[in-house]
Symmetry: C2
Subunit: 292 residues, 2 copies
């Protein structure tokens, strides 16, 4: 069994991005600039955004954090988005989700110029990804593919079972895994809450991408020997043993499944750290004008 | 075994659309108007477009056919698209594919205002479909789902195997079949040219949607009893027994597979006739402003 060390891969990629950024700056090029809009004070969102700002520093990017209270009106956000769309110095920006209930997340997402949509949530980017055109691919699916690539995990003709059909993980990662590409070219099955025979399906899988958000869902009895397991689950569970008062648990019963797996991601330290470098990669691509 | 009569369902839906259109016109509403751009004189394209124009008549729509020779320049088409985008009387329009090699199909598709893209090929429509938002769904996937619906074929929790991963059939129909919707909510596997164990996968399927374009690919030995078979294959084969000099053959060895199936579509007369009514439906939706 080989552990897929997302933290180490993320460190390597950040170093690569930092090196390229330094070179761009040295030759008089533009410093990539990411803006993040944060509404309210949700603990998770605060943490994610601060990690993103820190990653920008590590990569040599400029970053701008724009904060609003929970009481912000939708039109105020839309006005800010319009301003960011038109600000030539901002290469890409994100609006951290979730947003308060009185604001339509979909309206906000669609207001972002797709050429600056480094989160890859705008329909144009989702559609172009499905078609197989250059686009901003959203962070988690991109991070998963990068891990498979860096660990040289064979995907061609393999049976990849995706657990979960969310818009931000299950569906896009399934689309990418079936694409004529490397990684990709896999036979892909998407299972979800309404699936029957889920266990039988998992038992056939060469690669399992678990993105259900159900702690410990995937057990040893559900996988075959030498399976590749990518655990996208990140459920917060209260814990007295951490400073933050919680710990992250994945969808996979790691201790049970790991001995059977050929490759497996831990939680934390697997897919998680990759999502932020995917965002950094998209910001660099945006800055270089390589997608649009 | 029950034959899925696409021709009859298409006739019913056209009658429904015609009735609704008549009502709209009687109450002083706008007559739906579809425009089609046809480049060159490809036999298949000529046939498809003439069927579309005829369907418009049957539904009570206005239609406009715009023809160009094969030598048309890309900019001329783009100019025409711009004109159609701005023409308030045109509710939707299509550019019949394929186009000559010197014209970028993708550029043409993306030039169409997505609010008039009744073919559903624009990235915005592809993306919105993937996300599960209201959009124009492309004709073949929409036609397949309509057949499943009209024949009340159970899809929830069923294992649906899609053969083929094209942008116009395989990928979108897979996305729709896994969606939280009816029809939908199926466990979906997408197989393609690089898949191993394709036969084993088909043997597990409750529903098979064959869209490979390989005549007679699906044989009796590859399906289980009571499978539902949707045959999207339409390969033209020379024939001395038809007026046109060719006949259409599907991906399924119908005579062998039909006795095992609970439901099956014939070729021709199955999915084919549904594609045009999907286009009519989208045009009516566009005219009523129900999507955008």
């Amino acid at each position: 069994m080989q552990l897929i060390d997302g933290k180490e891969i993320a460190r390597q990629i950040k170093a690569e991005i930092a090196a390229e950024t330094a070179q761009i700056k040295n030759s008089g090029g533009k410093t990539p600039h990411l803006a993040a809009v944060l509404v309210g004070h949700d603990g998770g969102s605060e943490t994610y955004v601060s990690h993103k700002v820190k990653a920008c520093e590590e990569c040599g990017f400029n970053s701008t954090l724009i904060r609003y209270e929970n009481t912000v009106e939708e039109w105020e956000l839309l006005e800010k988005i319009d301003e960011l769309n038109r600000n030539a110095d901002i290469d890409g920006f994100i609006v951290q989700l979730p947003l308060p209930g009185h604001i339509s997340e979909q309206k906000i997402i669609e207001a972002i110029d797709f050429r600056k949509d480094v989160d890859g949530f705008h329909p144009v980017n989702v559609g172009r990804m499905a078609i197989g055109l250059p686009c901003f691919i959203s962070a988690t699916p991109a991070g998963i593919l990068e891990l498979l690539k860096r660990y040289k995990i064979e995907t061609v003709g393999k049976h990849c079972v995706v657990l979960g059909r969310s818009n931000i993980v299950g569906k896009p990662v399934a689309t990418l895994m079936m694409q004529k590409a490397t990684p990709g070219d896999a036979t892909v099955t998407v299972c979800h809450s309404r699936s029957k025979n889920l266990k039988e399906m998992c038992l056939q899988a060469d690669i399992i991408i678990a993105a259900l958000g159900q702690p410990g869902f995937l057990k040893a009895s559900m996988v075959k020997k030498d399976v590749v397991v990518i655990d996208v689950g990140t459920t917060r569970i209260p814990s007295s043993q951490t400073k933050s008062g919680y710990r992250l648990v994945g969808d996979v019963l790691f201790d049970e499944v790991a001995p059977l797996a050929s490759f497996i991601t831990p939680v934390p330290g697997g897919v998680g750290p990759m999502t932020i470098v995917s965002l950094m990669k998209n910001t660099l691509l945006a800055s270089k004008g390589e997608i649009y």
